[in-house]
Symmetry: C2
Subunit: 351 residues, 2 copies
């Protein structure tokens, strides 16, 4: 009989059962993982099953080279997205009004019913889309979901995008709106949230607020943040072509970030906030999914926040690819995710 060297609690030091005598003998070579067939998870809602089962996003490997090219794609996508927003606003009983704050275009998203405990609260929303997608009203989808499900007033920043502006244009616009929000209510009553590039911008705003000596908001929600655009992050590899939204670290989003960065160092914490100093950040909730290409870059931010002594909650949803928790207000998991974010804001805003 073969001698078995199985040990779960590896009290026998690193190299038990590996064929190596010492951990330092283990070469740092890549692991070859085989091709596999991934069934649709059974322990999620039927609506989420359809999202998970959907094929890889069409044209995930689009390689835009210029701001103009990206903008053309963004406009085409927005033209398809915007007609669906009216029904969503109606379902969720919110109104959306364009406005300009300190020269920055925003949408003020107001639910018909603001919860009594939310009357003095205000959320600032920074939308996703790899810093190039979702211009104009297309930016408001997540703000509508948050306002409608959470019964908060939300100001959604329609920040300038390429070719109108490049790094740090999006962040500059978001900061102007944040500074305006600080004048509308006490900082502890302000929440900032966003997903993907918006999740990264949320973190970048905190770094910038610290640098500018501005007060921190009461809490933030950073959904599956593009926290590292240098391609560091294990799930860029493990979840390649497992995530049906972003699909690959060499896909459209990578091309888009390079356009936005416009030659700037991608390792700058204002582009890759996982490298920023998170001491003094407000309480933060992070959301991702097990198939998310940015799973690693969400949990890395969570760990960095915890290492910096920040109260930080992590929510990971079964089987979901990038940002699928925020896709549609009628999906049960969307209600659950925004329910968690609302509960987190309720726990921390105003205190």
């Amino acid at each position: 009989m073969v001698f078995l060297r199985l040990v779960i609690a590896a009290s026998c030091a690193f190299a038990c059962g590996t064929g190596y005598a010492q951990s330092s003998d283990v070469p740092l070579t890549p692991r070859d993982a085989p091709a596999k067939s991934l069934p649709v998870p059974t322990d999620v809602s039927p609506e989420m099953q359809r999202l998970i089962a959907a094929p890889l996003r069409t044209d995930w490997d689009a390689q835009w080279k210029t701001g103009e090219e990206a903008r053309k794609a963004a406009d085409a996508a927005a033209a398809k997205a915007i007609p669906n927003l009216a029904a969503m606003r109606e379902r969720l009983h919110v109104t959306v009004k364009p406005q300009v704050i300190d020269g920055v275009r925003v949408f003020v998203v107001t639910p018909d019913t603001i919860a009594p405990e939310h009357r003095d609260k205000l959320l600032v929303h920074v939308h996703g889309g790899c810093y190039v997608l979702s211009p104009g009203e297309a930016a408001t989808s997540e703000a509508i979901i948050m306002a409608g499900l959470g019964h908060f007033k939300v100001i959604s920043v329609d920040y300038r995008m390429p070719p109108e502006a490049y790094f740090p244009g999006a962040l500059d616009d978001a900061m102007k709106v944040y500074q305006a929000a600080l004048k509308m209510t006490a900082p502890k009553n302000v929440g900032v949230f966003g997903t993907s590039a918006g999740g990264a911008l949320t973190l970048e705003m905190m770094l910038e607020a610290k640098a500018m000596g501005l007060p921190m908001p009461g809490a933030i929600s950073s959904g599956t943040p593009m926290s590292d655009v240098t391609k560091v992050g294990d799930s860029f590899y493990t979840n390649e072509k497992v995530d049906n939204v972003l699909v690959s670290r060499d896909g459209f989003c990578d091309a888009a970030v390079k356009i936005y960065a416009h030659g700037h160092d991608l390792r700058d914490p204002l582009l890759s906030p996982v490298y920023g100093d998170m001491h003094g950040f407000p309480p933060a909730i992070l959301t991702t999914g097990t198939r998310d290409l940015l799973l690693s870059n969400t949990v890395r931010v969570h760990r960095k926040l915890r290492q910096a002594g920040v109260e930080a909650e992590l929510e990971v949803f079964e089987g979901q690819s990038h940002a699928q928790y925020g896709s549609n207000d009628r999906v049960p998991e969307t209600k659950e995710a925004f329910g968690e974010i609302t509960a987190f804001f309720d726990k921390h805003l105003g205190h």
Copy 2:
């Protein structure tokens, strides 16, 4: 130019950019993921890099058929593991004393220095090993790490395993020790923790305590729990042969659980606690890694706890396979993980 249908915030409903007009048109077919090469993550400690880089565990596909066979493998592994424990006890300044509590074998693990705020606290430890591995002193590894790093007194349950006893022998033994612990200090001062099968047993103990009308402990730590032994859980598929510890849902651990279950229905919440009613559970911290075969079954428990209104924290470590956070007290990530567990117990025990 190809018409681009990219939308990140999928306000255009489910089927945007998928080629399907309606979400209900999406067939629930598996996704084919390609073979890939996974580099060793760079944003973890050098010690953790060696653990992650280690090849798939030798004999991961051992298919024991009987309790006797499993025990033989367990004894061989324990014989290799136990000699390393003395140095670990010395490094961490703890003593380990065997004892019998209400007919159940235990090890009392006492740090030289018990933190003043921990003098009235007591942790009950249930070890991992697929319900068949780590007999006797081999069970104490995680208890030593917890006692040494957290400065808690720990009682580690050396529960009976096949062929000495089958389901629900492990749980019965753990419950006897839990009941004894309730007599040693107030329930709110008791914490229960374990990893893998021990993480599942921790949850099963809470279900059983509810059924028996016993008080809940102050808090629990369930590390990467074997919460679903029916092979439901997306990461059984996505992380197959990515996780170098458990490796496959059809590996040694699956064979072991079948031996322990001894013909009992695997869907019983006392074997698959993710299906149990978690209302009234104490605050819980869960720990896993992005490459963990049980990533899904950890996050599913987290979601079920949150749905049941339980305060529950999730920690997910970059690049780690199953239970690698608990492998070695000298790895920085181990200190970090047990630091989080200690902080969680400090927050909740006694209140």
